[in-house]
Structure formats: structure tokens, C-alpha cells
């Protein structure tokens, strides 16, 4: 069996606790939909959160709090609108299906990118990245943390291979040049913080034209 690349325990805990930034949480949700063992673990951690909430000593509310709450539910329009329409990519895991998607953009040979209209957090946002078989991204470093989850295909960095469902936390200091090693294109969902810094003279030359 191929080794699995999983999120760190810290990041799983942060997701369960709701303290990941929204774009990071989107990539994590995609990963969990594809990796049931981690999903079960996160559910257990959420039960831990439920336990902690249950045993929290209550903080007294203001006198009119209940009346206000009852008034709010009386005037409430009713149930929340649960389902935004599905987007046009049925191959995406369920948690990504209800986000609107931007158009595909060419960002380099064999490399296309599409915005996922999930909530941003400052410079951090979610994109889909599709790279053809055998292609590699330009060498780059990141402005901040980059989280990646492989939806289809596979890529390899200098040291590791990432298959379907795998999760990568890229170190912002490491020069990164993933290469697609599957026969089919590799589709990933990525939470990207800051602009990618391209390396080398070609990279510097095309940097102004490549905005991911």
C-alpha cells in the first residue's frame, strides 16, 4: 500500500475546533471527504469539543436574552437555505460542489487554474489547479502556508509522492517544484496564502503575467 500523506494532528485539531482560516477549512473538508479514517477522527475531536461545551460553566446572560431569542425566532423567515446550486464539476468531492467556480485560466504550459468562490481570508484563497501529465510547475516559494489536497492524479515533489486524497502542507521556506507523475492530469484544490514567488530568470520574467 502506498503511504498516505495526512494533515498534521495540529491542523486536524484546529479544523475540529473551527480555528483554521476559512480557505484552509475548505481544503481540509475536501480531504476529509476522501479519507474516511481522518474524517472519523475529526468527528471524535468534534465530540471532544461538544463535551467541553457541555461542561463549560455557564456565563449568565442578560435578563432579556431569552425574550430576545424568542422574538428573533418569531420573526425569522424560517429555515436557512441549505443548498446553494451545485457547480459544473461532478468529479469534485461533496464539500466543494456547492461553491461557485471562476473560469479556467491558463497560467503556464499544461497548467490551468480556476478560482473557487469560497470565503477568502486576507490574501488566502482557494483555487483548483489542473496540471497535465509530466508537467511540473515553475520553481516557486510561497508567501505563506500552502495547503493542497489531490482530487485526481498524482504529483511528486523532490522527496515525496502525493496520490488521490493526500494532503500536503507546504513549508513557506522550501523551494517547491511539484511534477505530475500520473498518466492523467492532476487536479488539486489549494489554499494559497500570498502570491507565489517564481524562481529563476524565466520565472522572474513571467512573474508579472502570472497571478494565481
Amino acid at each position: 500500500m502506498k503511504p498516505q500523506r495526512n494533515p498534521s494532528e495540529e491542523r486536524l485539531l484546529a479544523y475540529a475546533a473551527g480555528t483554521l482560516s476559512p480557505p484552509e477549512a475548505v481544503v481540509m473538508a475536501a480531504h476529509l471527504a476522501m479519507r474516511p479514517a481522518n474524517d472519523a477522527w475529526v468527528r471524535d475531536l468534534q465530540s471532544v469539543g461538544g463535551e467541553f461545551l457541555d461542561e463549560t460553566p455557564p456565563s449568565p446572560l442578560s435578563n432579556d436574552a431569552l425574550a430576545l431569542a424568542m422574538a428573533r425566532i418569531e420573526t425569522d423567515a424560517g429555515k436557512a437555505n441549505h443548498s446553494a446550486p451545485l457547480n459544473d464539476m461532478p468529479e469534485l468531492p461533496e464539500p466543494l460542489r456547492r461553491y461557485a467556480l471562476g473560469p479556467w485560466r491558463w497560467v503556464g504550459p499544461g497548467m490551468r487554474v480556476r478560482d473557487v468562490h469560497a470565503p477568502r481570508d486576507g490574501d488566502c484563497r482557494v483555487i483548483l489547479l489542473k496540471i497535465e501529465s509530466g508537467r511540473e510547475t515553475p520553481k516557486h516559494t510561497h508567501g505563506g502556508v500552502e495547503l493542497t489536497c489531490v482530487i485526481s492524479g498524482a504529483y511528486a515533489t523532490e522527496t515525496e509522492r502525493f496520490n488521490v486524497g493526500d494532503f500536503e502542507e507546504a513549508d513557506p521556506d522550501v523551494l517547491h517544484q511539484p511534477r505530475v507523475v500520473s498518466d492523467e492530469p492532476c487536479l488539486c484544490v489549494v489554499a494559497l496564502d500570498g502570491q507565489i514567488q517564481l524562481d529563476g530568470w524565466v520565472g522572474k520574467l513571467i512573474q508579472p503575467f502570472v497571478r494565481l
Binding site: 480555528t19 477549512a25 465530540s47 471532544v48 469539543g49 467541553f52 456565563s59 431569542a69 437555505n81 461533496e94
Partner: protein
């Protein structure tokens, strides 16, 4: 009949014993809730029972009938706890109360998504509140869903799995009871203090490295207690 207890076995291991009356309640009650009109003394009667499923029932009543008294009972229990949570994570009392109001309104709206076989009430409300918090933290809010527990899977569970799901709360509670006080404390802070490890370190007066390794150790322990076989696979 009150003294009669029923043992729930998993293989040769005793998971939990219930008074027979609780098991009867668990199986019989959802049907009668659905078919009989709501009686206001029911909530009060339930309230005096040490019923671990009381809050689950209240949410189901809201889902079934938009039951306002059930909501009031749920609000009385959870809103002060949600407020306390937010105060611990650094919010002002006023903002914390607004948050509690907001989260409970979401509970009202989403009650029909509650599935007591997947999560018990406290976990579900915790998850709703955590998502509301994500909504508040995001800088350009859009009317789109953050990933939520109910989106993760609409799979139909088998009856034998239902039994194990209903044991989850007890499983997790028992596991927490077996962790050291230090480990429980550091996990609680990780849940309630926006997870900034340096903030936790400051709060405990410990070096950052100590806090990080303590959190990691606590999670390793928890994993071992909850799923000894799964852990070997990682």
C-alpha cells in the same frame, strides 16, 4: 423494573449498561413524539431526568414542529455556555452574548439537519457555533456554506452502526476521563483559545515548545484510547 439493567456488548467487551427503561425510552419515544401533540409538561418532566438524550430530543421537537418551548429549554442550557466559550476565547461579554444568540438562531433554522445518529446535541451545537465563528472571522462574507458536519456524508448507516454512534459520546467522555489533567487542560485551551499556541503558552506560563508537545502527546493518547487498531495504521 427500575433495577433491571441491560448490558450492551461489543464482542466480549462490555461497552455500557443501561437501565432497561432508558432503552425502552430510546426506542419508543421518537414514534410517540411524532404522533402525539406536544404537551408543555413533557419538557419539564424530562428536565428532571438525568437523560443524556434530552437535548437531542429537544432539537428533534424543533425540527418536527418548530417547537418554541423546546427551543427555550435548549437556549437556557446552551446559550450561557456558548457565551462562556466566546469570553474564554477573548470576546467581550456583549459580543459573546450576540454570538450565542446568533448561534442559537442557527440551531433553530437548521434543526431539521440534526441527525442524532451522527452526533449528539452538544457536538452538533458546538459544530454549528464553530461554523458561525468561522463566518464571523472571514473578511468578505458570502452567503455560502462553510463545510459542515452534515455535508460530510449522507450515507445511510447500518443498524449496528447506529448503536456504535449512540455510544460515541460515552466513548469520548470515557476517553477524556482517562487522560491526565494536564492533557485535558491543554486540549480544552486548544478548543477555546483560537488555537494560538503562543497564547496558550502565555496562559499556562509554559514555554511554547512544551505546549506544542503536550498537545501532540494528548492527541496521541486520545487516539490510542479511542481507536487502538486504527492508530497502528498511521
Amino acid at each position: 423494573m427500575t433495577g433491571l439493567r441491560v448490558a450492551v456488548m461489543f464482542g466480549s467487551r462490555l461497552i455500557q449498561t443501561f437501565p432497561l427503561s432508558v432503552l425502552v425510552f430510546m426506542h419508543a419515544e421518537p414514534l410517540s413524539f411524532a404522533s402525539t401533540p406536544y404537551r408543555s409538561n413533557r419538557v419539564k418532566a424530562l428536565d428532571s431526568l438525568p437523560d443524556p438524550l434530552l437535548h437531542d430530543r429537544l432539537i428533534e421537537q424543533i425540527a418536527l414542529r418548530r417547537d418554541r418551548e423546546a427551543f427555550a429549554a435548549l437556549f437556557a442550557y446552551f446559550a450561557p455556555r456558548l457565551k462562556a466559550w466566546l469570553i474564554k476565547s477573548g470576546a467581550t461579554p456583549g459580543a459573546a452574548e450576540d454570538f450565542a444568540q446568533d448561534a442559537m438562531l442557527t440551531v433553530w433554522r437548521k434543526a431539521d439537519l440534526f441527525d442524532s445518529s451522527k452526533a449528539r446535541a452538544a457536538t452538533w451545537i458546538f459544530t454549528i457555533a464553530r461554523n458561525r465563528r468561522l463566518d464571523m472571522l472571514r473578511r468578505d462574507a458570502r452567503p455560502l456554506p462553510t463545510p459542515e458536519i452534515e455535508l460530510a456524508g449522507d450515507d445511510v448507516r447500518r443498524p449496528d452502526e447506529l448503536l456504535s454512534m449512540s455510544q460515541d459520546a460515552d466513548r469520548v467522555r470515557d476517553a477524556l476521563a482517562r487522560l491526565s489533567a494536564d492533557h485535558v487542560e491543554v486540549l480544552r485551551l486548544a478548543f477555546f483559545m483560537d488555537n494560538s499556541h503562543s497564547e496558550i503558552a502565555k496562559h499556562l506560563g509554559l514555554p511554547l515548545g512544551t505546549v506544542k508537545s503536550r498537545i501532540r502527546n494528548a492527541m496521541t493518547k486520545l487516539r490510542l484510547i479511542l481507536a487502538p487498531s486504527e492508530d497502528a495504521a498511521r
